[in-house]
């Protein structure tokens, strides 16, 4: 417990951590300020007009769907109206749409919390992932490089305990910062929506969905933190983590993807970490498979998409993080600290 307390103090005293927190506050402040400046509370006429437009848009969707069904059932001729319809009319079914038009869609210059909360949260999570990764890498990288770890081991000559305390403290600290930052962030935008825009439709489903994204985002932040820590511990330097990520992005995500496409490999997205991160964060990611419809008969509907769901995506992310962390501990246990 004493070791953890000391590590908390060391972590919070790091200039880099303080700088990242300042950047977090700045990014948050700029986003909130620009949102506030670009939004206004709509008057009754604007709201009524927007609602009418939303109703009209929904009706338009229904009529398009109906027209598609009419043509499919032979009630109208294909070129009668000059419109194009997909072979499967269910694609146009408003009931299957991801979301239906709402009044907020027709209120330019009005911030809607219900509409914007999710993308805002994604932005914050992206920042926190970067925050966690960099702080995790610099925390152990700088300590290994400067002799801080050696100094600590002279006091506590238990390597795994010391490294474990560092990682535990780091994860705990990043989690606390992330939870506080995200709650404060969402609360601020909720207040902006209430006072200078629209709150929107904040149903139970909305909060459940937002909570799920929030929870998955926090897990992603912790995984990124552990990966940054583990790579820097393996490479003894903060730059090792930065270099590894840059190399992975360039060599595999760009170069590897290109090569896989050239050799016409099947489902190359499954081999990309970015796909798994996206699938985990959004719950499901859909990718195009050019060979999926290769053998389908003409006239039979074939979408050509396949899904990567959050379960397998999380498994892959956990395996990579767990593997790197275990390797870092195994190497640190035997490493010569010179």
């Amino acid at each position: 417990m004493n070791l953890v307390r000391a590590e908390v103090e060391r972590l919070s005293a790091r200039r880099f951590v303080q700088l990242m927190v300042v950047l977090l506050v700045l990014a948050f402040g700029v986003t909130a300020a620009t949102t506030l400046a670009g939004s206004h509370k709509p008057n009754a006429d604007e709201v009524a007009s927007a609602r009418a437009k939303a109703v009209e848009a929904r009706r338009g969707m229904e009529s398009t769907h109906q027209a598609c069904l009419d043509r499919q059932n032979g009630l109208t001729q294909p070129d009668e109206r000059g419109d194009w319809y997909p072979a499967d009319c269910s694609e146009l079914d408003p009931l299957r749409a991801e979301r239906l038009p709402v009044a907020a869609d027709f209120l330019p210059g009005v911030f809607s919390f219900a509409k914007e909360a999710r993308p805002l949260l994604y932005f914050l999570i992206a920042f926190l992932v970067l925050f966690g990764f960099l702080v995790g890498a610099s925390y152990i990288g700088a300590d290994l490089n400067s002799g801080g770890v050696v100094n600590l081991l002279l006091w506590r000559p238990r390597r795994l305990t010391v490294l474990g305390a560092k990682l535990g403290t780091l994860l705990g600290g990043v989690l606390v910062v992330s939870v506080l930052a995200s709650l404060f962030y969402l609360a601020t935008f909720w207040v902006i929506g209430q006072t200078a825009g629209l709150a929107g439709r904040l149903s139970g489903d909305f909060w459940r969905s937002l909570g799920a994204v929030h929870g998955r985002g926090l897990v992603l932040v912790l995984l990124a933190t552990a990966v940054g820590f583990a790579i820097a511990a393996l490479g003894r330097h903060t730059s090792a983590a930065l270099g590894a990520v840059a190399a992975y992005a360039v060599v595999w995500e760009l170069g590897g993807r290109l090569v896989l496409e050239i050799v016409d490999a099947r489902r190359p997205d499954l081999l990309m970490l970015s796909s798994h991160i996206g699938a985990w964060l959004t719950g499901e990611a859909r990718f195009w498979d050019s060979q999926l419809c290769a053998g389908s008969r003409p006239g039979v509907t074939c979408e050509g998409f396949y899904s990567l769901t959050w379960g397998p995506a999380l498994l892959v992310l956990l395996l990579i993080t767990g593997g790197l962390t275990a390797a870092a501990f195994a190497v640190f246990r035997r490493r010569d600290l010179v």
Partner: protein, 335 residues
């Protein structure tokens, strides 16, 4: 007296990425007994720091046996870590922390009462500067802070690697007094250094390492006595005649620029008698005692010959070995 540090046959080599091997410590032995101020000498790159790091569990030994305060190290080092204060080379501290906060952090990490911080700062003369940020400290002050961190635990054993680094003469003197007072209070001190005069002043025992091998160990006066060539500096009015007389008496004489160096005699009265009987009166007759520096320079050339035995205590100096401290690259030497 019980052994506080025991090292037997310690071996450690480092491999480079290119496949080369550098032997850092090659079958080294060390015994430090309770209450000693034990000097650990060696040229740069001779294996001092590697030995201390291995003893403290910071590098893995390839072979050998070590114990600290009776516990095998590094396996059971955690049992006695609370009684061992150590600094290895110059530890780094957070520049934006004050000296006090730095020590408080370590005290917390080690489960030491925070009240010890002021005492430790006091011991190294930093009490008045404890509230200043470490980045404003001089090199010597940082070194004192490092020593203070080692003293925080109120240790039974203090291991100091080059504690005088960066200290000014006054600081070196304070460090010397500090070590003496610690030893007087029962703390065993192992201090590595290449400031030989300091070691001779402070330490009662010494071990000299060269190329990873022990080349001398024992009480400082015994090590020095072992290298006494029984020579005397003689000043006399007629040096040419004196040389003839002394050589005729069977003594070895070397003519120096201003005096004679006479060897092969243990009793100085022999010299004064030989010269006095012929009417030559001696102006100065001074025994030439070896100091630690001359012994060190003489011995640290011995380890570069792999064919020599592992322990070469009181070794006969090799021709041309004196003062040869330059080429320390031992890559390719087999363990």
């Amino acid at each position: 007296m019980s052994a506080v540090i025991e090292i037997e046959g310690l071996r450690k080599s480092f491999r480079s990425l290119r496949g080369g091997k550098r032997v850092a410590v090659d079958g080294f032995d060390l015994l430090v007994e309770e209450g000693q101020i034990h000097g650990f000498l060696g040229p740069n790159g001779s294996g001092k720091t590697t030995t201390l790091r291995a003893l403290l569990g910071l590098v893995r030994a390839d072979g050998g046996r070590m114990s600290v305060l009776g516990e095998p190290s590094p396996e059971l080092l955690p049992r006695v870590a609370g009684q061992v204060g150590a600094i290895v080379e110059s530890p780094q501290f957070f520049g934006n922390f004050t000296g006090y906060r730095t020590l408080r952090l370590l005290a917390r990490a080690g489960g030491v009462p925070v009240s010890r911080v002021d005492e430790a700062l006091d011991l190294v003369g930093l009490r008045d500067r404890g509230d200043e940020r470490v980045k404003g400290y001089s090199l010597g002050m940082k070194q004192r802070l490092a020593v203070a961190s080692a003293l925080l635990k109120d240790p039974r054993l203090l291991i100091l690697d080059e504690p005088a680094n960066g200290l000014d003469p006054a600081g070196i003197r304070e460090m010397r007094d500090l070590m003496r007072s610690l030893a007087a209070s029962g703390v065993t001190v192992l201090v590595s250094s290449h400031i030989l005069g300091e070691i001779q002043l402070i330490c009662d025992h010494v071990t000299i390492i060269s190329r990873g091998r022990r080349v001398a160990t024992g009480r400082v006066d015994e090590v020095l006595a072992g290298h006494d060539r029984h020579e005397f500096l003689v000043r006399v009015a007629e040096p040419e005649r004196a040389v003839e007389l002394l050589r005729a008496a069977g003594l070895m004489v070397v003519v120096d620029a201003e005096a004679l160096v006479v060897g092969g005699v243990t009793d100085s009265t022999v010299i004064s008698r030989v010269l006095g009987e012929q009417g030559l009166w001696v102006g100065e007759l001074t025994p030439l005692r070896p100091d630690l520096e001359s012994v060190f320079l003489e011995l640290t050339g011995a380890g570069e010959h792999p064919s020599l035995p592992r322990q070469v205590d009181h070794a006969t100096p090799l021709p041309g070995a004196e003062g040869d401290l330059i080429d320390l690259d031992v890559r390719g030497v087999d363990a």
